[in-house]
Amino acid sequence: MSGFTTLLMRDLRLVLRRPGDVGVVLAFFVVATVLFPLGIGPETNVLARIAAGVLWCAALFAALLSLERLFAADYEDGTLDLLLLAPWPLELAALAKCLAHWIVTGLPLSLLAPVLGIAFGLDGTSLLALGATLLVGTPTLSLIGGLAAALTLGARKSGALLALLALPLCVPTLIFGAGAIETLAAGDGIVTHVAILAALALVALATTPWAIAAALRQAGE
């Protein structure tokens, strides 16, 4: 496990030394969300109805935006070659990179979204539910996005391609994440939705590290 934590701490330290990179992603999230009331109109009941969907979609885009560089820097400066040569599983390295990505984007997005939700007129329980579903759902986005990032490593127009690959695969998470707040409005609990989001995250956890490692191996060939 020491390799795992070392890599994780290294990635977190890199982000900590250039906090602007994360700041840009969060700023994008805020600006993109604020555009919706401007485009749709300020009626509070309309905004409260679409809030969960808008915040979830914006979080998805923000997470994708930051994924393009997940492996690219390591690919360019040769770190990836060393990871490929290292005598410990590449799957763990992939997992460490995705975890680092989640800590610096998924986690702050989950904390920031309820704050923005207040501006959309969501009530207290909905805000909590929004934060909870994002907290459980964003790891899936980091893992699937990590796979898309590994597959598009060194490709032409990799940014747009990454979005094209990752977005259809993220649909289930989006549906259950945004759907949870809607069920809450209808008077039901969100336990089922959170459980399914957790199940999706576990499926992603069980499959994507192997696929990411396979993709990284052929990128290194």
Partner: protein
């Protein structure tokens, strides 16, 4: 599967396909002609939907073939990653646009059928939406396999994507079904008729087999082209 291994060699595959292709093409055209006659003149009109029910004979087999086509992509991807069959990559490259075209035909005919029946070209019905997402998965596969300067790299990236996609397809389908029941509970009458009468079922199955022939013919033809293209590229690189 073992019997198909002899086709893994591109040169041997080419000899095989050149023997099969003309007859297969002829059979496809003949079967489609008979199928079109059955669909337009033999099959009865629906008492509610009138002539528009004939769209089904193209629409439903296209849906089947686009789903089967993705399963084929995943199988080819697995055989490329596991056995490194050189032909699997070329065939996946050939099959993806064909499958995407069938998905597009399914979506287009569905929307043309929806206009007279539902009064709109598009509804966010669970089946329509999951077919649209399948179409996007095809687009991702096509774009990824052609995104690299080295074609082999694109082949293998696309193979991994096809395998992950095939694991995710049932999950996507399930979640879209769930999403639809949440948002609009059964506002559309579906085609869940108790049983399809033989006068409709026979032309439908006939068209399904004819379009399967078309699918196989197109994939074999395009695979031949891909073999030639790869050879040309290699020759150019060597020169």
């Amino acid at each position: 599967m073992a019997d198909l291994h002899f086709l893994a060699n591109p040169a041997r595959f080419r000899r095989f396909s050149q023997r099969v292709l003309p007859g297969l093409g002829f059979a496809t055209v003949l079967m489609l002609a008979v199928g079109a006659y059955m669909a337009f003149f033999v099959a009865p009109e629906d008492y509610q939907q009138g002539k528009t029910v004939r769209i089904m004979f193209l629409h439903v087999p296209s849906a089947w073939l686009s789903m089967g086509g993705y399963a084929l992509l995943a199988a080819l991807g697995a055989s490329l990653l596991v056995w490194r069959h050189p032909l699997a990559a070329l065939m996946a490259r050939a099959a993806a646009p064909v499958g995407a075209s069938f998905a597009a035909v399914c979506l287009l005919t569905g929307s043309l059928w929806g206009r007279p029946m539902w009064g709109t070209y598009w509804v966010w019905d669970a089946r329509l939406t999951s077919m649209l997402l399948l179409f996007f998965l095809y687009l991702g596969h096509i774009a990824l396999s052609r995104a690299y300067d080295s074609p082999e790299r694109g082949d293998r990236a696309a193979a991994i994507l096809a395998l992950i996609g095939v694991i995710n397809l049932p999950i996507i389908k399930f979640s879209v079904d769930w999403w639809n029941t949440l948002h609009q509970p059964a506002s559309i009458t579906r085609l869940d008729a108790p049983a399809i009468h033989n006068s409709i079922l026979v032309p439908l199955l006939w068209m399904a087999v004819s379009l399967l022939f078309l699918f196989v013919w197109l994939v074999l033809l395009r695979t031949e082209t891909e073999i030639d293209r790869r050879r040309l590229e290699n020759a150019e690189a060597a020169a």
